[in-house]
């Protein structure tokens, strides 16, 4: 199990003049799945990017194993902490195995050749993501779900104990979303990889998460186990939406059912009489 720790300490994060995340303090539980949720533009991706040291914090610190992350050589960080960005770029015509192999970069020296160990890591990553049979295919030809698996495989080939993912299920249909989250859960259970991700779908987050972090306008609103944290009051506060919370009939985790203005028994938009009449 991962013993590496990742923490954010009193961090203010932003772009140019604009501050997006205010005074954030957060400790990522090692070996668990943490999900950051919140409304659009609440700063969840910004927070993740700062944790992956793609963004510098203005004030405060991001600590990897207790050391400020920007003082550690980038390649050393890359052997501990991996990231799947929201929109990675795949070079034209690149083969799946070649792309996945690039995840080995931090483990190679200036002139060190490709080794059997690298081969093994790539094969294991392809196997874990169930795309071994696609190894020779061109990434361009794959479906969205397959392509996302390829990128996850690349991050796996990097063999980091901590893996950050920025909206790994965006652009995927619901079946592929569940597939990706199942895969991440496998990874977490089999290897104890610490996973931190940003998700849009609160219900999937509640089901697949050990530790939920809710943001509103760049500030931490609540954190903890989904069953403790997800309540109608929280949904109201974070998303500005009235909702009921029931037990997910499959997993028993909280299931958020939005109320909305229409289609509610107390305020039917179209009555049955109108329909037949």
């Amino acid at each position: 199990m991962s013993t590496h720790t990742l923490a954010v300490e009193a961090a203010t994060i932003g772009y140019d003049e604009r501050v997006v995340v205010h005074d954030m303090t957060l400790e990522v539980p090692a070996g668990r799945i943490t999900t950051i949720v919140g409304a659009n533009a609440c700063g969840k991706s910004t927070l993740l990017r700062a944790m992956a040291r793609l963004l510098k914090v203005r004030t405060g610190r991001v600590l990897l194993d207790g050391r400020p992350i920007d003082t550690i050589p980038p390649r050393e960080v890359a052997t501990v902490l991996g990231l799947l960005p929201q929109t990675p770029v795949s070079p034209e015509g690149i083969a799946v195995a070649d792309l996945v192999g690039r995840g080995r970069y931090p483990h190679q020296g200036w002139f060190r050749r490709w080794t059997a160990q690298d081969d093994a890591a790539v094969e294991e990553a392809l196997r874990a993501t169930d795309i071994l049979d696609l190894a020779d295919r061109s990434v361009d030809e794959l479906s969205g779900g397959q392509r996302q698996r390829v990128w996850i495989a690349m991050a796996l080939a990097q063999q980091t104990d901590v893996l950050l993912l920025d909206e790994p299920t965006t652009f995927l249909d619901v079946a592929h979303q569940v597939e990706v989250l199942d895969l991440l859960t496998d990874l977490n259970r089999a290897r104890g990889t610490t996973i931190v991700m940003v998700l849009h779908d609160l219900n999937l987050a509640a089901r697949y998460t050990d530790h939920l972090v809710a943001l509103r306008e760049g500030r931490l609103v609540a954190q903890g186990a989904p069953s403790d944290v997800v309540t109608p009051a929280l949904v109201e506060e974070v998303f500005g939406m009235t909702a009921r919370v029931i037990a997910d009939p499959v997993s028993g985790t909280p299931l958020v059912v939005p109320v909305g203005r229409h289609h509610t028994p107390t305020n039917p938009q179209v009555t049955p009489q109108e329909l037949t009449g």
């Binding site: 990675p88 970069y105 190679q108 990097q158």
Partner: protein, 321 residues
């Protein structure tokens, strides 16, 4: 890739054999091993060998420099001969010849320095908190057009002798490739090309986007700057030796990509293709056509249709470069 090396060797030997008088490979080998063969020794050792070596080195440089740009900016149009880097060297050389009467090493130095300066200017002009491929290509083409007008102006003011000398800088040619030039060129390439090779793994990471590259432990901006400086130096040194051999930098990468398909870095295959293009282009220009043409004319005829095709294709697929 082994096949590429083989073909390149064969072409190199043919280059040494063929000419006004044609010698057998055995005779050429004797000359190379230091034996004196009447006639052949002078022709091969003094004329053809430096010409072949110059073509080979310059081709390696154009090929590798070009593919580094194209890969880094994720755009096949982003080759130094399209985006004005080579034009920078040419314009500086033409102005130096026609207005300041420079020649020799000083001239080459001016051409290299100005090539790098123009590249820096293009990079600076296209910087908006990062460099985007398409923007850099457009700005590079505009800068290239400006430099072309500088060249045209200098040429109209030049005397006949100077203009003739300056012409070499406009269409790449191996006609003035003799021994004294080979040494410095070989040293420059022996230093610069390995640096690019050492950076090639970072380049592969950079190809996946800045975020992924950072996640893999590569600093995107720093790596990009190092790659640009070295690649521009390579292309400028090559341009300073033979003039801009049209489209070699532009064509080598795409051709290599189609030849080796799929895995691994394109740097070495593209360099080999570049050398092959220059040597074959020179062979064709010297011996297969009714008149003798400089190599740049031949590669230009090859490259122009590909450029048209590429522009037509990118236009069809949504207009983004």
């Amino acid at each position: 890739m082994g096949v590429l090396v083989g073909i390149l060797l064969v072409v190199a030997v043919v280059t040494l054999c063929v000419g006004e008088r044609t010698y057998s490979p055995a005779q050429v080998l004797q000359v190379l091993l230091g034996e004196r063969v009447p006639g052949a020794t002078f022709n091969v050792e003094t004329i053809r060998l430096p010409r072949m070596l110059t073509g080979l080195l310059v081709g390696l440089g154009f090929g590798m420099g070009g593919v580094v740009f194209q890969t880094m900016l994720r755009n096949p149009l982003a080759s130094p001969d399209i985006i004005g880097v080579s034009a920078g060297s040419s314009a500086a050389a033409v102005v130096a010849i026609t207005m300041f009467g420079l020649s020799g090493t000083a001239l080459s130095l001016v051409a290299v320095v100005c090539g790098i300066a123009v590249a820096a200017a293009i990079y600076g002009l296209s910087w908006r908190g990062g460099v985007h491929g398409a923007r850099l290509v457009l700005i590079g083409i505009a800068v290239g057009a400006m430099l072309d007008s500088v060249i045209a102006y200098a040429m109209t003011r030049a005397g006949v002798y100077d203009a003739n000398e300056a012409l070499r800088w406009l269409t790449g040619s191996l006609n003035s490739a003799f021994w004294p030039g080979v040494g410095p060129l070989a040293v420059a390439m022996a230093v610069l090309l390995p640096v690019l090779l050492a950076l090639s793994r970072r380049l592969s990471a950079l190809q996946l986007g800045d975020d992924t590259a950072s996640a893999l432990g590569v600093r995107p901006d720093r790596t990009r700057l190092a790659l640009i400086v070295v690649a521009v130096a390579v292309v400028s040194v090559a341009t300073a030796t033979t003039g801009p051999v049209a489209f070699v930098a532009f064509l080598s990468g795409p051709i290599a990509h189609r030849l080796v398909r799929g895995t691994g870095s394109l740097l070495v295959p593209a360099a080999l293709v570049g050398a092959l293009l220059v040597l074959v282009g020179d062979l064709v220009g010297q011996h297969l056509l009714v008149a003798r043409f400089p190599v740049g004319v031949v590669t230009g005829v090859l490259g122009a249709p590909y450029l048209l095709w590429l522009l037509a294709r990118t236009n069809r697929s949504g207009g983004s470069l």
